[in-house]
Amino acid sequence: MSGAHLSLQNLACLRGGRLLFAGVDLELRAGGSGQIAGPNGVGKSSLLRVVAGLLQPYAGSVAREGAVALADELDALDRDRTVHGALGFWARIDEAPLERIDAVLADLGIGHLADIPVRMLSTGQRKRAALARLMVSGAPIWLLDEPANGLDVTAAAALGPLVERHRTAGGIVLCASHLPLAWAQDVTITLAPPQEAGAE
């Protein structure tokens, strides 16, 4: 994964007739880490979705080298399957080895939940299962949307070493969060609410 690269140029996003942000530049190379900060509703999640390719940018361009994995507020896990079974579906799609699931679950401290149906999980446990989906994929570029939401203090702190390990292996982490994160940032983009043109 050493060739991973993420570059945003002059990115702008228009949603519902409202310009959320404009002129966002970012350059992350293998091992890089960035945070998108800013208050609620400023477009942090939209920026991540643009980077992931799920939203079309209004202007500017996104260049990615390497696969992306996104963990947002939607866990994309089948609620009536076990944690292991639901992750297994994604592992098959990503052509990742199934043994990786157990290792990742242990890393996230939810190894004991492998055989529990996803619908029985608590908010924090489901968040960690969604992070497990991201880690199992083996994609070099991680896009995290408020990864510490719903996690207890210990679990949130435990994310730090996992992210550092991913970066050491040559991965890239771009994280949207209004809170300080448990790992060091190379770049921080602070999105501010846009000035309404011509307002009052």
């Binding site: 949603r15 992931a52 390719g53 799920l54 939203l55 079309q56 696969a67 992306v68 994995a69 996104l70 947002d72 939607l74 866990d75 994309a76 896990l77 089948d78 609620r79 009536d80 579906f89 994604w90 098959r92 799609i93 990503d94 989906r133």
Partner: protein, 213 residues
């Protein structure tokens, strides 16, 4: 990837009632119909084939609210798109899975249902061929409508309105094959079915893409 989606959707369909549901549904209608119109064998044999067609259409629509919306809501479709799957490909896979979950069970159920409705063997054969040709189209239609209405509140009534005009050609030619004995009507069923199988993933995919903004 298509294979993984088909297997997952099939497993989900079978867990939630699955293959038994369309089977029981068709037999239920075939059993109720003689009770409603009376046990007159000529009447049953005349109307029974069309009845089977209506039952097949309704059976294809039974799980329509579970085809796309749960996956859109839980982010599964986002994650698949993220991995490079086109929306059309996803819908194609879902359409195949949907057909597998109700088409073959329906064809099996048509045999005892034909007996309940006192259908002549050649009529039953025409119905079966027609269903085999038409159900893929009905599955594609269900997928298309499910994609169009995904994310809408109270889409139940809308679903019916959207399905009706598009399902009518298959129904007309399928039931028409029974009256006019065959060949050309069945070819028209196949034509409608093929058209829907091609158009549904394309149109539904566009709807999913538009709905993501």
């Amino acid at each position: 990837m298509i294979r993984a989606i088909i297997l997952r959707d099939l497993a989900r369909a079978f867990r939630s009632g699955g293959a038994w549901l369309p089977l029981a549904f068709l037999l239920l209608i075939a059993a109720l119909f003689p009770c409603a119109v009376g046990p007159n064998a000529t009447l049953l044999a005349g109307a029974g084939g069309g009845m089977l067609w209506i039952a097949a259409l309704l059976a294809s629509l039974l799980p329509i609210d579970r085809l796309i919306e749960p996956d859109r809501e839980s982010g599964v479709i986002d994650q698949l798109v993220l991995r490079g799957a086109g929306e059309g490909t996803i819908l194609l896979a879902k359409g195949v899975a949907h057909w597998l979950s109700f088409g073959p069970p329906l064809l099996i159920a048509a045999l005892p249902a034909g007996a309940l409705l006192k259908l002549a063997p050649e009529t039953l054969q025409t119905v079966m061929i027609g269903l085999a040709l038409g159900t893929p189209g009905l599955a594609a239609l269900a997928i298309l409508v499910a994609a169009l209405t995904a994310g809408l509140r109270g889409s139940g009534a809308l679903t019916g309105l959207l399905v009706l005009p598009l399902a009518v050609p298959i129904l007309i030619f399928g039931a028409g094959a029974l009256q006019f004995g065959g060949g050309s009507a069945l070819k028209l069923v196949a034509t409608c079915s093929l058209f829907l199988c091609v158009a549904a993933p394309i149109a539904g995919g566009a709807a999913l893409r538009a709905g993501r903004d």
